[in-house]
């Protein structure tokens, strides 16, 4: 089997997290394999985005161990993100989170200037390439306020890809996009996944996206505070392990 060959790039063991005394998830464990498009799904408020924040190191988990790209993530509360992860992880925030005072060029050049010692010329070539990859060739000198929301999101993806990361985290990438833009973004994920080999970890509850791009997934359940289902979403739809998961994947069909 193909899956057997790939090795896990993210391993979370016995993870518990929440806010203060209130726990969102208890003792969950999962693995993300290299080159996966890994979907984190679940109803609203079950802790999907919080889990993403924990994986990216923005927030500390209450308990448990996370290893991302062979680097143990700080799960105690010092809040420091290991330097190595800055190179190997890119993050696409919900609204793109582009710096509004900088042009797209400056936005994407920033991580390159920060973490590489490339010449200015090479940086400008790389920025042009990344923008072309997300379909924004020629938009270098625009400010985020001058382009549409979908374009901002794609530019955010270009910034996330700037350092050729191994993992790209995406927080609700298709939220607020029209069906065609959302579809184009999905295609882009697939293309980048197959050609760059980038692992994607995507938080979403857009069913069409989940089925088109997901190669592996977990379903978080807020009530039992655990993972109710895991595996390829298409397989899950065929053999739902529980009624809840079936309802989620079929938009609540009886």
């Amino acid at each position: 089997m193909k899956e057997a060959k790939t090795s896990p790039i993210i391993t979370a063991t016995n993870l518990s997290f929440g806010y203060g005394d209130f726990m969102l998830m208890k003792d969950i464990s999962f693995q993300v394999n290299e080159h996966d498009i890994f979907i984190i799904m679940g109803g609203s408020g079950c802790g999907k985005s919080t889990l993403l924040h924990i994986l990216t190191g923005l927030k500390a988990a209450a308990k448990g161990k996370i290893i991302v790209d062979e680097t143990p993530l700080n799960t105690d509360r010092t809040g420091k993100i290991p330097e190595k992860l800055m190179h190997s992880c890119g993050i696409l925030y919900q609204g793109g989170a582009l710096f509004s005072s900088m042009t797209l060029f400056e936005n994407i050049a920033m991580p390159l200037q920060q973490y590489t010692d490339y010449s200015d010329k090479l940086i400008s070539e790389l920025v042009s390439l990344k923008l072309a990859l997300v379909g924004l060739a020629g938009f270098e000198e625009f400010y985020p306020s001058e382009i549409s929301g979908g374009m901002c999101k794609r530019a955010g993806l270009a910034r996330a890809l700037a350092l050729d990361p191994k993992i790209v985290y995406c927080d609700e990438p298709s939220a607020g996009l029209d069906p065609i833009s959302s579809r184009n973004l999905d295609d882009l994920f697939l293309e980048l996944n197959s050609s760059l080999g980038t692992t994607f970890v995507i938080v979403t509850h857009e069913l069409p996206s989940i089925f088109t791009i997901g190669s592996n997934s977990i379903y978080l359940d807020g009530e039992s505070k655990s993972i109710l289902a895991r595996g390829n979403p298409k397989e899950l739809l065929k053999n739902p392990p529980s009624e809840k998961v079936r309802q989620f994947l079929t938009r609540g069909e009886k």
Binding site: S100, S101, Y118, S119, L122, L126, L129, A132, A137, S195
Partner: protein, 368 residues
């Protein structure tokens, strides 16, 4: 390793070994220049011996193809599939921006533009003040849409929460006034009149100015930032579409609260300033408290005191209007909130000084 040769309009690029972090400016520039100079119709890329690569190589190939304006046919020979795929993906979308980047204006055009914009924003400001007047009328008639909770919140924010900073600043200003005054008065041996100096200057104008400057930095800035963030979050649009006048709902409570509390803050400032002067008079110049108080009391006049309060009242209006105006007409991004806050504080201080000048002339003309 990266090598190339050109034969009969064909550029052959040979890639081998490990091409990572390929950052050789001279080589790149040479390659691109050659590709441009010679009429290249075909690019052949051979990668049979390529072992490892990263984005820098993709960028190189992409830019190389771009140099020929994508006219050349490209042939990939034994290149890794995903590398070819990536180059094709980058080349696939050739959508050029539809919007034009605004071009640089000449000096005359810029002068004209900023004059026009200045005039426009002056009219906008007057219009805003008119809207506020109408809101205030509605408020008097009891038809303004304003929440009591909001009003009480801003009232608290610009009254007792500001006591500490106003007290501290005014105390220090009184102290400085007395100190500087004492040095001059010592020459004539009339140090006791330091108390009169402090009493008159604090009540007539300094108390109001100090309270005004502190409140414009403290409260005016916070109004601009709050309303600016609301503008960024589209909350102000939501109010407009609900038919709630923004001036009623957001500006009115802030304006009334500041106009109510500023005279009170001026009183506090007057008192603290005199206390500061007293500290110098009693501790440094060695007057008895009763003596100092007597000369202070003699110098105090109801007229000066009321003029000070009136100034405070006017400053309250200016601070609230400037803060709210720049907040409401804030742009849509993070930067613009900063700009709005700065403009609110700067313009409220400038207007305060200008209006003080005007008022002083008027009061002096009327012999007050």
């Amino acid at each position: 390793m990266l090598e190339y040769q050109i034969e009969q309009n064909t550029l052959t690029l040979q890639l081998s070994g490990n091409i990572k972090n390929e950052d050789n400016d001279a080589k790149r520039t040479g390659l691109y220049a050659d590709a441009r100079a010679q009429n290249i119709t075909k690019i052949r890329i051979e990668g049979a011996e390529l072992e490892a690569w990263d984005s820098t190589l993709v960028a190189l190939i992409y830019n190389l193809i771009k140099q020929t304006n994508a006219k050349a046919t490209v042939e990939y020979d034994k290149l890794p599939q995903n590398l070819v795929h990536l180059v094709k993906l980058a080349l696939s979308v050739n959508r050029n921006p539809t919007q034009e980047i605004p071009k640089k204006l000449s000096f005359v055009e810029r002068v004209g533009q900023s004059t026009y914009e200045g005039w426009q924003s002056f009219k906008k400001g007057l219009n805003f003040m008119k809207e506020n007047c109408l809101s205030f009328m509605r408020c008097l008639r009891g038809t303004a849409i304003m929440r009591k909770v909001d009003f009480l919140f801003v009232l608290g924010d610009c009254s007792y929460k500001a006591f500490g900073i106003i007290s501290l600043i005014s105390f220090m200003v009184g102290l400085i006034l007395a100190f500087v005054g004492a040095v001059q008065m010592q020459v004539f041996g009339v140090e006791i009149y330091v108390s009169s100096l402090v009493a008159i200057s604090m009540t007539r104008i300094m108390g109001a100015i100090m309270a005004g400057i502190v409140m414009s930095g403290r409260t005016g800035a916070s109004y601009a930032a709050t309303l600016g963030t609301m503008q960024v979050n589209e909350e102000i649009d939501a109010l407009k579409t609900m038919g709630v006048p923004v001036t009623d709902f957001l500006v009115l409570p802030r304006m009334i609260a500041l106009m109510m509390t500023m005279p009170l803050l001026v009183m506090l400032s007057d008192f603290m300033g005199m206390l500061g002067g007293g500290a110098v008079g009693i501790l440094m110049l060695g007057f008895s408290p009763a003596e100092y108080w007597e000369y202070t009391y003699k110098a105090l006049s109801m007229k000066n005191f009321l003029i000070g309060l009136f100034h405070g009242f006017v400053y309250g209006y200016i601070i609230a209007i400037c803060g709210c105006y720049y907040g409401i007409f804030c742009g849509r991004n993070a930067d613009s909130v900063g700009v709005a806050t700065t403009s609110a504080v700067v313009s409220s201080i400038v207007w305060m000084i200008v209006i003080t000048g005007v008022l002083t002339v008027i009061f002096v003309e009327f012999g007050l």
